[in-house]
């Protein structure tokens, strides 16, 4: 099976795509239902608000501590992994990451690679690059398998096919999987997918996976999963390639359990996942399974830009649980595809600008009412609303003095918008002018424009009151005194 042409929408078309998405009642209903389910499951795992808060504080501390020492921890990780027999590769860009992986695959003359779930591989668009050189990169996570079969991207970082109904999946399998018939039994559907994948696990020379936590002191790659496909990909093929972002490193093994516990409970409302794979090297002499060759590809792809700024660095605390999107009222309304980026929802809005530049993504940080639900549930306490505001600022202005410009810095700058805010500030810093404005607006209220931009799409126009509070308070004062 070759990768299908991508139904990919650039982030710059976000508004059009979002408008189509909110009008799709089927999509609205299915995302609402799925997010409600996940929200309820998560809440059941955290019955004690104070206990949750102390766990979040600990997790935040671990992530901040790790990031503060990131360069040395990465070096320690590389040393330790190398000692363990793992080959470590560094990729500054998405293209470099793909080239490294293609190079490894080609050195084994393979035409087939099986993949466990990895958002970083999505981020670097690996499947596409592999297809271009004639290598099948087959997704083995059931959700990823489904979206790949349909030529789509994941619509959620944890549940890639959450936008699809059972019926759609059934039709897809009947169309695309040789020998599959239409069925509305979920068990049968999973059976169909499994039968295909089982055979591929056996025949693939190379297996691929992501990494949830990379432990520097032991050189251990931790992989969290439920389906067992991750273990298959990392133990059956002769070669295992792991790919991850440079921010995933922690210093000590003891830093993993607090993060792992919050990850699974925040993501799917599970106290623990079915599998936690801890991989510290290739097969050793006398061992009966495991890959004979193990690689780790550490990807930057814009992360050092976030890292360089004290405030933006907290973006890299993320452990990819997806709770921010599950709780986001915007994501719930439009689903993941409307964002046009690998990472949708609030985390996508704050991380995509570093990967793709503000020129392509500046609309994303504006797609939030700043309600704060994301920051409230984030297990590592990333102040997402504050970062959204910061990125709005960077998109509208040149870099702050003493700060390096971000990729696409000032891409949303507009003389008109600048003039509007300059005028706004001029009015609201001049009390007498402001009162005169209020006086006039109330007297001219019958002339209120019937169309007020985005406001009147679904609302009646805003109309000033008969008198401002300022006037009424002044009148009141003179009456009582």
């Amino acid at each position: 099976m070759n990768a299908q042409p991508m139904k990919f929408v650039p982030a710059s078309e976000f508004k059009q795509r979002a408008a189509v998405a909110v009008a799709d009642q089927h999509l609205r209903k299915s995302f609402r239902g799925a997010m409600d389910f996940l929200i309820t499951k998560r809440a059941a795992q955290f019955p004690d608000a104070a206990a949750l808060e102390s766990q979040r504080l600990l997790a935040e501390h671990i992530r901040k501590y790790s990031l503060a020492r990131l360069p040395e921890l990465l070096e320690q990780l590389e040393r330790k992994l190398t000692d363990n027999g793992v080959k470590v590769h560094w990729a500054e860009t998405a293209e470099e990451a793909c080239a490294i992986i293609i190079g490894i695959a080609q050195s084994h003359s393979t035409k087939l690679m099986v993949k466990g779930k990895s958002m970083v591989s999505e981020e670097v668009e690996l499947n596409h690059a592999m297809a271009d050189v004639g290598i099948d990169a087959l997704e083995s996570d059931m959700g990823e398998y489904i979206v790949q079969l349909d030529g789509e991207k994941p619509s959620h970082i944890i549940m890639p096919a959450i936008h699809k109904t059972k019926e759609q999946i059934s039709r897809l399998f009947a169309d695309k999987v040789p020998g599959a018939r239409y069925t509305d039994s979920v068990d049968e559907l999973i059976g169909i997918g499994r039968a295909v994948l089982r055979e591929k696990f056996m025949s693939a020379e190379v297996g691929m996976s992501g990494v949830n936590f990379a432990v520097a002191e032991t050189g251990t790659l931790c992989l969290v999963e439920n389906e067992g496909n991750g273990r298959m990909c990392t133990t059956v093929p002769n070669v295992h390639i792991a790919i991850t972002g440079i921010e995933k490193v922690v210093e000590k093994l003891e830093h993993v359990p607090p993060l792992f516990g919050l990850l699974t409970r925040s993501a799917t409302g599970q106290a623990i996942t079915t599998y936690l794979n801890m991989i510290s090297g290739p097969r050793r002499p006398g061992e009966k399974d495991g890959p004979r060759e193990l690689h780790l590809v550490l990807v930057d792809n814009g992360r050092t830009q976030a890292y360089a700024d004290q405030q933006l660095r907290s973006t890299l605390q993320c452990i990819r649980c997806g709770a921010c999107m599950n709780h986001c009222p915007v994501y719930t309304r439009i689903g993941g595809h409307a964002y046009g980026t690998t990472y949708p929802g609030p985390i996508g809005e704050i991380i995509s600008p570093h990967m793709l530049g503000l020129a392509a993504t500046h609309v994303l940080p504006t797609a939030s009412s700043l309600c704060g639900a994301c920051g409230e549930v984030c297990p590592v306490r990333i102040p997402i609303p504050e970062l959204l505001v910061r990125l709005r600022e960077e998109a509208q202005h040149d870099a702050r003095p003493g700060h390096a410009p971000l990729l696409g810095q000032g891409a949303a700058k507009s003389r008109l918008v600048d003039a509007v805010w300059a005028g706004w500030a001029a009015l609201y810093t001049r009390p007498a002018l402001y009162r005169a404005f209020g006086w006039l607006a109330t007297r001219l209220r019958v002339l209120t424009p019937p169309f007020q931009g985005g406001w009147t799409v679904s609302r009646t126009p805003m109309k000033p009151a008969a008198r401002t509070l300022h006037e009424r308070m002044a009148a009141r004062k003179s009456r009582w005194q």
Binding site: V22, P329, R472
Partner: protein, 260 residues
């Protein structure tokens, strides 16, 4: 952010300032007057500095910090006495209490000044419950209302329970919960202008949820949310409307004799 129960509250003062907010000033002054009347009935003298305009939040959240700082500075020295500053809006109170210190983080003197002001800023319902410790006596006919708490009030000011506890004092008022009670109504200031499709979808779902409770009306302590929802309902031709909490409380508890 203020966690519920974490803030130290002063004794009931004899004088307070009112920061009316720009939205209330121009679009719902009744809510401001009703807030004043509620405070005065507790024996508190309310001072309304005539030079106040806006807290600066719209520019701050839109990525124009210079303009936000300029407008914030224009408010900073309007409250010279050490009296509480009462704000009948969770998001404006949140801006003054939490964002002012961030906005002036790199200027030690201004930071100290805004931080001192931030300490005196109270959202109206928070003040009524914890500082004025009002005891309300309901004079209205039995009714049923839904309550929409703004996200800023809920998350920045920790005032989730204050509206509820004030309404609970009203004997003939039944407060009903709506579906997805904690979810944003879609207003979000300039968000409603920049992303009308998404904002409208959120507002539409919120009014549906409020409507489905069978309540006679809804109450909100934030004018932004209230206006967004009311104008959405009006566009639908629906006469179900919301009221600012201050107005609802005043109307339920007032003898009817005092003028506005």
């Amino acid at each position: 952010m203020d966690q519920a129960g974490s803030r130290h509250y002063p004794d009931k003062p004899t004088k307070v300032y009112l920061f009316g907010t720009c939205l209330i000033d121009l679009f719902c002054p009744d809510a401001g007057i009703d807030a004043v009347q509620l405070l005065e009935r507790e024996g508190i003298e309310v001072h309304f500095p005539a030079d106040q305009t806006c807290c600066g939040q719209p520019a701050h959240s839109s990525g124009f910090p210079e303009q936000a700082r300029a407008v914030a500075l224009a408010q900073l020295r309007l409250f010279p006495e050490p009296w509480p500053v009462i704000v009948p809006s969770g998001s404006c109170a949140g801006t003054m209490r939490h964002h002012y210190p961030e906005m002036f983080a790199d200027d030690p003197q201004l930071h100290a000044e805004v931080s001192a002001l931030a300490e005196r800023v109270f959202e109206l319902s928070e003040f009524l419950v914890h500082v004025a410790r009002v005891e309300l006596s309901d004079r209205g006919a039995p009714t049923r209302v839904a309550l929409h708490t703004s996200c800023a009030a809920r998350r920045e000011m920790g005032t989730l329970e204050h509206g509820r506890s004030l309404l609970a004092q009203l004997a003939a008022v039944e407060v009903v919960m709506h579906e997805h009670e904690s979810e944003c109504c879609g207003f979000g200031g300039t968000f409603s202008l920049k992303h009308p499709a998404i904002s409208s979808a959120m507002a539409g779902d919120k009014v549906d949820a409020l409507r489905e409770t069978g309540a006679r009306s809804f109450v909100s302590a934030d004018c932004g949310c209230m206006l967004s929802l009311n104008h959405t309902l009006q566009k639908r031709g629906d006469d179900f409307q919301g009221q600012h909490l201050a107005s609802f409380l005043w109307q339920r508890t007032n003898d009817g004799g005092e003028p506005r």
